[in-house]
Subunit: 398 residues, 2 copies
């Protein structure tokens, strides 16, 4: 029923941080059974970025080998709020926003996964959580001790810094864990920050006499600016819904140190090719060439080779055509996420916020050769970045 | 609609440890409104003892003044398990046992409370908890932080000693607290160990825009032996279902230091009378006389003056009729709860456990003049206690 994959294949090695357990994965792959591969997606945001896509591409490869993706859209759990990686309790979303996000997320799944019923099952976890009574929930709770939940590193950090933990957040791993019982998952592929929660999946499955799911946990990379992991609010991410041009432009803003890890984790470029780029960089090659290689590979993965090639050519034409002056004013600014409007005012490239807004809407603003046209997207400022307004105004951030 | 009571009356002073808040109680008493007085009773055991009865007598007085008792039989919460005063997680009871306990508890309520519908409402908290969905429960949970629940002294003790806290136990105060929302209680009268839980009642009522209940918390006394509070497993309690003879006999085993506090908390003897007994004891009076006074008052409260007088006479006849020898064998034994059979064997009053059992069933065993006839009841051993078997065998515990 399914093609037999090996634990030594790229699927289980490239970008993989840990496997729980290798023996169980090996056994399930050898069995020839069609496995149910769980991935829970939180409906906090309408956008997926290339970080979210990493497990999805692995799952796509499993679909190609005959296995079944079971995507859980966290309608119920989003109302509760996953505290993973959050250093403070976050606001709760309205049901309208959650439903809108879910519709948008489903569309994006189609960019990566096989969407036919034989290869994909989409579930909302409100199916089981909205039906469950408090008594049944307490039966689950009675299996779990306080010590087991509170040992989580993130909670310990919050306690240490005197920050609050809502009881809903504390119980989140129980919800995510029981999801694995509800859909009878055989395997889950996750970012490594979900490992704690998914261990509860194994725990509850064992309590319910279901064979425990295996867990393939993936490396999480820093964002484009080398800081925290990709997030919309930090302006350091590449969204699946970004246009090919935006994807290419953002990829060109990647810091040099991340070119090789990004090639490994975010593209399907063959390993030997990546080693070649790595050798060139090590031998004094121009990082810009390596970045062009990465940007093209990234766009190719989502939009095909023709569009990727076109974007490369467009980028080179625009970027080489517009000569930057050697000397320009410099300004010292805090690195990190900025509102575009505030950045322009801070650089004295616009006399007022309203003028700054007008310039952006006229597409007169560029950062490192990329036109910035979305007022609400933050921009990740870093030293060396060149901001240009109109035809002649330049400033370099130092 | 209700008689106006004063905050200075015995009801709100005698045996009372704390009132939250005095101003609110005063205002509600002055309003003339018929108040709803909450008392939650756990269905862990089929027996109430005179400790449980203390808030019930206060509530009876409130009924007499026109207020309404709302007794919550903890059908749902008993399945969860109140961790109050427990240093380890306790086993969960079956539904059959809980139902049997509830039937028995209802009968005992009738020994104290007015049972007519105008003065009493009996509710099972499964009414609202069995209906509630997990989503609604999470709305409650989102109001509560981890810090607020874990600050509870008992949990801190468990953490310190490396003992487990089941998550069901941790959430127990949320259940007990929300009960106050469900029944819209105006006041609750509780043993002081329930204060933490009932503060959650006020908390949730405020969140649900219901005027918060006031809390009258009562002193908790040590058991008959002066050790931990009354409990069946320690053999240091007087049950409501004990016969008048047993009540009298157990009362006579009370340690001297507790005579005055027991008169205060467990009887309705007038304050001046108690002061008189206290003066007599202070002036070298015989504690046995004070204990006879207490025992008669206790039996009178539950069974009326005629039966109380009869029990006093019976006790004196039996006790004076049977002269103890001045000299008798002595044995040094651990104080505290003993199985009757093991005690007899340890004292060499029976050659074997089966012989010990036979002696008890023949009513041949006495402790301090009280016949011990129930094999399964533990006995609280203390220094000075005289055990008698048959007509001639005596032993004193030292």
């Amino acid at each position: 029923m399914s093609t037999k994959l090996s634990l030594q294949s790229e699927l289980f090695t490239r970008g993989v941080e840990d496997i729980v357990t290798r023996e169980e994965v090996e056994r399930s792959l050898k069995s020839g059974r069609r496995l149910r591969i769980k991935l829970g997606i939180d409906a906090t945001s309408p956008d997926l970025h290339i970080g979210h896509a990493t497990p999805l591409w692995k799952i796509r490869a499993l679909q190609d080998a005959g296995h079944k993706a079971v995507i859980i859209l966290g309608e119920f759990t989003t109302r509760v709020g996953d505290p993973t990686g959050k250093d403070a309790t976050r606001p709760v979303l309205s049901e309208t926003v959650i439903k809108k996000n879910i519709a948008s997320l489903k569309k994006q799944l189609g960019m990566i996964l096989r969407m036919d019923a034989a290869h994909l099952e989409i579930r909302k976890n409100s199916e089981w959580w909205a039906r469950m009574k408090v008594g049944e929930f307490f039966s689950l709770l009675s299996l779990v001790t306080h010590a087991r939940l509170i040992e989580r590193e993130m909670f310990q950090q919050r306690i240490k810094h005197g920050r609050e933990i809502a009881m809903t957040e504390m119980l989140y791993p129980i919800l995510q864990g029981y999801d694995s019982v509800a859909i009878k998952s055989d395997m889950t592929i996750i970012g490594s920050d979900q490992l704690f929660n998914e261990h509860f999946g194994r725990f509850f499955q064992e309590k319910f006499a279901i064979p425990p799911q295996t867990i393939v946990s993936l490396k999480i990379l820093p964002g484009l600016d080398g800081g925290a992991k990709m997030s919309k609010s930090l302006g350091n991410y590449i969204a699946l819904m970004d246009t090919p041009q935006d994807k290419f432009g953002k990829a060109m803003r990647l810091i040099d140190a991340l070119i090789i890890p990004y090639l490994e984790v975010y593209t399907d470029v063959a390993g030997e090719e990546i080693r070649r780029v790595e050798r060139e960089l090590g031998g004094g090659g121009n990082p810009r060439d390596a970045k062009l290689f990465f940007a093209e590979a990234l766009v190719r993965r989502y939009h095909g080779p023709a569009i990727a090639k076109k974007e490369r050519e467009r980028f080179l034409a625009v970027y080489s055509g517009r000569q930057q002056p050697d000397e320009m004013p410099e300004i010292s600014l805090r690195e990190g996420a900025w509102s575009l409007v505030e950045l322009l005012v801070a650089c004295a490239l616009a006399p007022s916020k309203s003028e700054a807004r007008r310039l952006v809407l006229q597409k007169a603003v560029e950062a490192d050769g990329i036109t910035l046209e979305n007022l609400s997207d933050p921009i990740a400022v870093k030293k060396g970045m060149v901001i240009k307004v109109g035809k002649r105004k330049y400033i370099r951030i130092v």
